[in-house]
């Protein structure tokens, strides 16, 4: 929406946004009250909007409204989540927080099972299959890839996958003499060497992640600068003599 087509309210909003942008940018000079003011306003707005969405989109239409307008079966079925919701709201009070523990256990049970199922079916099996199919030369031929380069890339990917897994080992820490700290289990020279190689690939991956984060941050900077330039360009004619 161009500034010229904006109403007064929106213009005020744009100005307010620009002011808040300056408040946040003042952090480059150091922490200051303006930065904190903008931050606390943002937290309040975000919390309030989240509660509005939770009520408007879930609690009212899916719990309370069917209890009033729904059929008998729906009402009976919704008594349980209503009761559980009441118990969960008791977590607000420190004295009554214990009543909400069964609800937490319920949510945890559902969440954990969901995570396990998704990890098995969504990541573990497909990614292992993908690692196996790295050397699918038929697919490479179909895509018209250079087979040598394809195999080399596949090898690098496979080595990176395996060595990274070796670096993140899952084991029981061995106990040393009493009083001393437990040390990790001795894994052997070969495993340790492979883990060191895995650390190299992890560094590459994290470097790529850092580059992506910086790219996103720079894009945000560009967007903020763009908004400011547009505002200045809109306001400048108002203040320049013709």
């Amino acid at each position: 929406m161009s500034l010229a087509n904006m109403g007064l309210v929106d213009l005020i909003g744009v100005l307010l946004g620009f002011v808040f942008t300056l408040f946040i940018f003042s952090y480059i000079l150091g922490d200051n009250p303006l930065f904190r003011l903008a931050l606390y306003i943002f937290i309040g707005v975000a919390a309030g909007y989240a509660a509005v969405m939770a009520w408007y989109n879930v609690i009212w239409p899916q719990l309370l409204l069917p209890l009033v307008t729904g059929s008998m079966n729906e009402r009976l079925l919704l008594l349980f989540p209503l009761l559980l919701s009441g118990l969960l709201l008791m977590r607000i009070s420190p004295r009554l927080a214990g009543w909400g523990t069964p609800v937490i256990a319920y949510l945890l049970g559902v969440g954990v099972a969901t995570a396990i199922g998704g990890a098995v079916l969504g990541t573990l099996f497909p990614q292992v299959l993908a690692s196996i199919n790295l050397f699918d030369l038929n697919a490479a031929n179909q895509n018209g890839n250079n087979l040598l380069l394809y195999v080399m890339d596949a090898s690098v990917i496979l080595v990176a996958t395996i060595t990274t897994l070796i670096f993140f080992h899952f084991g029981v820490k061995s106990r040393t003499d009493q009083g001393s700290q437990a040390t990790s289990a001795n894994r052997g020279v070969v495993i340790e060497s492979l883990a060191w190689v895995g650390q190299i690939f992890i560094s590459i991956t994290f470097g790529a992640l850092f580059a992506g984060v910086y790219t996103a941050a720079l894009t945000a900077l560009v967007e903020r600068m763009y908004s400011g330039v547009k505002l200045v360009q809109f306001l400048l004619p108002l203040f320049t003599p013709k």
Partner: protein, 710 residues
């Protein structure tokens, strides 16, 4: 007559009573020392039947009972004019009840006449039992009239220290004194002899009313008498001793000394250190009291000063009269009495202090005694306190510390300049400099429009996404998920604008959903932006519907994937989108023509792949992601079969996508500034990194050299 308060129980008793009617404690202390009767003050001279103690002394109960019994006995039973009352009191219980004396009254005392007051008839049994814990001592049996052939044992055995043991463990071979006939004559003589002059010592409370008489010890009884007793008798024979202060001698000590009958075996304890003027047995009550007090093992001074009698033995029965007759009124202690002084060794005697200056206790059970522990605390004794130097002993260390503290206190009041942190530091300068360079690099292209950077090329994944949308039919339901935060709306809006524009161009029906609370607002914002920029007429509910917010993360996605209509029954406008076109045929997520997820978080992308991906079956899943999520999402793209069919990554992907479509959106608008800013950032990181790394290496090198030189 005023009532007398009992020293033991504190209750009031009539003044004429000698013992307390409640606890049987002595109300009137027994007078100690050896003052003669004539020397006693008239008020202090006791009657023949009663003993008036000088103060509130508490005699042992057994002694009191003996005294009372003595007082109750008829005085005509024996020649009593010369027998001291205390001695006659001692004899009385033996005359009256010879059989009962075996259990109650000690025999040696029962042989001596005692005046038992009628009021205290019930009392005697107790004190007698208290005194004798076992059999009657031999020395008492010798004193008694029933044992003529008994020989007194070694007197020296009854030392002041051993007096107590002798009292509790009398020699078994000695037979107790049964009756008056067994009373030795010396003891009878003791009864006749008037007591000595009363003195100010502790003897007053136990001294009998009468005066001690020098026992007329016959020659044949000398061998039987203990040495100390013989000494006393001898002294009596030599004449009255000058008046002297009488140290306290407990009756128990006297009795203990009398118990031992070792004539000649050891020097009599009474002989060695007898203070002059000590006449312990000035009254029979005092003697009894002192005998009872010997339980504490204390050696009274008078007893220590008494010269022991020579080793003499005395027949008990026939000696009664000569003993009595031998007790002549005299200022001196009778020799036999002096012999009874339980002085054993010179060291002990020498250790005995002169208690003549000591005050007589007037309260408590030790009343009448001299030189005992005071009832009052030590502060009342008026002792001069020890003089301590008030000068501090200061060591050098203390002095140094004191100087240090003094300096610290002085500096405390002085104002010190505050260390001001400089506002501008090198780090802050560097940070400001980087910010200025970056902002300028971004601003310049936005303001001037130059330089123009070429657009990036599209990737295969971007192309695949483009092709998927291109293959949509008009009105095809497309599930569009807005799962990014407002903070990354700059990048995501630029990355997704081309995709949404493409969808709008294709006329797809958009079902908007989000697992973020701000998703709906983001969707409205972007849709409005693209709508305006692309000049589309997309409106809800005709062209798109906002299903709202799915809480619970992966759990909500799984619920939505199972049954979208049950998970999101109503749209954000409150109406059900599942009953009319085009969503009425959608019963599962796989019924959507395309699923596009716009997210900045790799975890959200993974959740969609894991939870919704399996439910899609063969339907494609396309993602528009942030550059920061690309490394973690790429494995899903490169899997075989691919789990993500199309991928648009960040601003570069969006710009390339727009380039593919030939439409200019935010991606291309931002690209110049983005590209220049990126180059500036890379240069800044390189240059500053090399400089800081070099300076760090230089600093470490210098530090190492400095350490080596050191």
């Amino acid at each position: 007559m005023a009532d007398v308060r009992c020293p033991m129980c504190g209750k009031l008793n009539p003044a004429d009573l000698d013992v307390c009617q409640f606890c049987q404690a002595r109300l009137k202390p027994v007078m100690g020392g050896s003052p003669t009767e004539s020397e006693l003050p008239a008020s202090s001279q006791p009657s023949s039947s009663k003993v008036e103690p000088a103060g509130d002394a508490a005699l042992p109960d057994w002694l009191q009972s003996l005294r009372q019994r003595q007082e109750s006995l008829p005085e005509a039973a024996e020649p009593q004019e010369d027998v001291p009352d205390w001695l006659s009191n001692l004899r009385a219980p033996a005359e009256e009840t010879p059989s009962a004396a075996e259990d109650a009254v000690p025999d040696w005392l029962s042989g001596v006449s005692l005046d038992t007051p009628p009021q205290a008839e019930a009392a005697p049994a107790e004190p007698e039992q208290v005194f004798f814990s076992g059999e009657e001592p031999d020395w008492l049996s010798k004193i008694g009239p029933s044992q003529p052939d008994e020989t007194p044992e070694t007197l020296a055995q009854d030392s002041p220290e051993g007096g107590e043991s002798n009292l509790t463990e009398p020699p078994p071979e000695e037979s107790p004194i049964q009756n008056e006939e067994e009373t030795p004559e010396w003891l009878k003589g003791l009864a006749e002899q008037p007591g000595g002059a009363a003195d100010q010592s502790g003897l007053t409370e136990w001294e009998p009313e009468g005066q001690l008489e020098a026992p007329g010890v016959s020659a044949e009884t000398q061998d039987e008498l203990p040495d100390w007793m013989a000494g006393i008798l001898a002294r009596q024979a030599t004449g009255p001793e000058p008046e002297r202060s009488r140290p306290e001698i407990p009756l128990a000590a006297l009795g203990a000394a009398a118990l031992t009958q070792s004539a000649g075996e050891s020097p009599s304890p009474f002989q060695e250190s007898q203070p002059k003027g000590v006449e312990p047995f000035s009254s029979k009550e005092g003697l009894l009291a002192e005998l009872g007090a010997l339980d504490t093992g204390e050696l009274p001074a008078w007893l220590a000063g008494i010269a022991p009698l020579e080793a003499e033995k005395q027949e008990p029965a026939p000696q009664a009269a000569p003993v009595e007759s031998g007790l002549a009124p005299s200022d001196e202690l009778p020799s036999w009495l002096e012999a009874m002084r339980p002085v054993e060794s010179a060291a002990v005697l020498a250790a005995m202090p002169d208690l003549s200056h000591e005050t007589i206790e007037s309260a408590g059970p030790l009343s009448g005694l001299r030189g005992v522990l005071p009832a009052e605390p030590g502060v009342a004794q008026g002792q001069k306190p020890h003089v301590h130097s008030i000068k501090l002993q200061i060591s050098e260390t203390n002095q140094a510390n004191a100087v240090l503290i003094e300096q610290m206190i002085k500096t405390e009041g002085q104002a010190r300049p505050l260390l001001r942190h400089s506002v501008i530091t090198t780090q802050r300068i560097l940070r400001i400099g980087i910010a200025v360079v970056l902002i300028l690099a971004v601003l310049w292209p936005l303001v001037t429009g130059s330089p123009q950077a070429s657009l990036p090329g599209f990737t295969p994944e971007t192309y695949a996404a483009n092709q998927l949308i291109e293959g949509l039919r008009t009105g095809a339901p497309v599930l569009l998920a807005f799962d990014y935060q407002p903070g990354l709306s700059g990048e995501m809006d630029a990355a997704a604008a081309g995709v949404i524009d493409h969808l709008m161009v294709k006329g797809a029906y958009l079902a908007v959903v989000s697992t973020a609370t701000t998703g709906s607002a983001q969707a409205e914002r972007l849709l409005a932006m693209v709508n305006q920029a692309g000049q589309h007429n997309y409106a809800s509910p005709g062209q798109y519907t906002d299903l709202g917010f799915i809480p619970g993360g992966p759990t909500g996605l799984l619920s939505f994937a199972q049954s979208p209509s049950q998970a999101m029954p109503l749209a954000l406008d409150g109406k059900s989108p599942w009953q009319g076109n085009p969503l009425q045929d959608v019963t599962a997520v796989k019924d959507f023509a395309l699923t596009i997820v716009i997210t900045d978080n790799p975890d959200d992308a993974r959740a969609w792949v894991e939870q919704v991906g399996p439910a899609l079956e063969n339907q494609p899943l396309t993602m528009v992601i942030s550059a920061q999520a690309e490394p973690m999402v790429r494995p899903y793209v490169e899997s075989n079969p691919p789990q993500i069919s199309g991928l648009v990554t960040g601003l570069s992907g969006g710009a390339s996508y727009e380039d593919l479509n030939g439409r200019e959106e935010l991606g291309q608008t931002y690209w110049n500034a983005f590209s220049l800013g990126l180059i500036a950032a890379v240069l800044l990181i390189l240059v500053c990194g090399l400089v800081t790394a070099g300076s760090a290496v230089w600093a470490r090198t210098k530090e190492t050299e400095g350490e080596k030189k050191a």
